[in-house]
């Protein structure tokens, strides 16, 4: 999951570099959504995860 979020960021940057702003923004949205999902998932105490 975490590696997937990083991979989405790498993809968004490469797409921006290569001149595809639309796809870059889509990849960024995916990376941010994954990050927020991981954060909310870890915050949920029912998962009983500690930091």
């Amino acid at each position: 999951m975490m590696a997937g979020a990083f991979l989405a960021f790498v993809a968004s940057m490469l797409l921006a570099w290569r001149g595809s702003p639309g796809w870059a923004m889509a990849a960024f949205a995916m990376a941010l959504a994954l990050s927020i999902g991981i954060f909310v998932g870890h915050m949920d105490t029912s998962l009983n995860l500690q930091f």
Partner: protein
């Protein structure tokens, strides 16, 4: 603010983001402190801030690009704030060692707060550039080096996260690289 000034400022901003992420790497590989999931999320948020500035460098400044960076800074600030609150609970120990009197997640919170303020100021004073679209290959040397460094750091973070967490959920208090132990 002229287009060239805006590009130079945003490229400098990307370099500051790179310096922060390289600092996190040095704590991981030099000091040997493995990052927790919240630490990795803060790195992701900092990459998002850098990505917004990168869009400004490549495509010209736009409120949309500043929005990308600001959204990431807000997310990073929330994650860092959450980690601070976890460790101020009486009886709970801090995570990692302190740097200049403060723990890294507190520095991270300060960095995201500062980033939000700087981005808001740039959004107020930077004029949207409608000429737009400059392929990254046609940029000057300084912006290209800054953007190349950011992409390289993002890729290194991907490899690091893959080694640390594998394909599953990251351990709360990592003691080693999960993927290496599986192999």
């Amino acid at each position: 603010m002229s287009d060239s000034t805006s590009r130079a400022l945003n490229a400098s901003f990307v370099l500051v983001v790179c310096a922060i992420l390289l600092g996190a790497f040095s704590v991981q590989f030099v000091a040997g402190e493995l990052p927790c999931p919240l630490c990795l999320l803060q790195r992701l948020a900092m990459l998002g801030v850098g990505f917004g500035a990168m869009l400004n460098v490549v495509y010209g400044s736009s409120p949309r690009h500043y929005g990308v960076a600001l959204a990431s800074a807000i997310f990073g600030g929330i994650v860092a704030g959450r980690q601070i609150l976890l460790h101020v609970v009486p009886g709970s120990e801090a995570y990692g060692s302190a740097f200049v009197g403060l723990h890294l997640y507190t520095w991270s919170f300060i960095a995201f707060l500062g980033t939000g303020i700087v981005l808001s100021a740039m959004l107020m004073f930077d004029r949207p550039n409608r000429e737009v679209t400059m392929a990254a290959g046609r940029l000057g040397l300084f912006p290209r080096v800054a953007l190349g460094l950011l992409v390289a750091i993002a890729a290194a973070n991907f490899v690091g996260a893959l080694l640390l967490c594998g394909l599953g959920i990251c351990p709360g208090d990592p003691q080693g690289y999960a993927l290496l132990s599986w192999l």
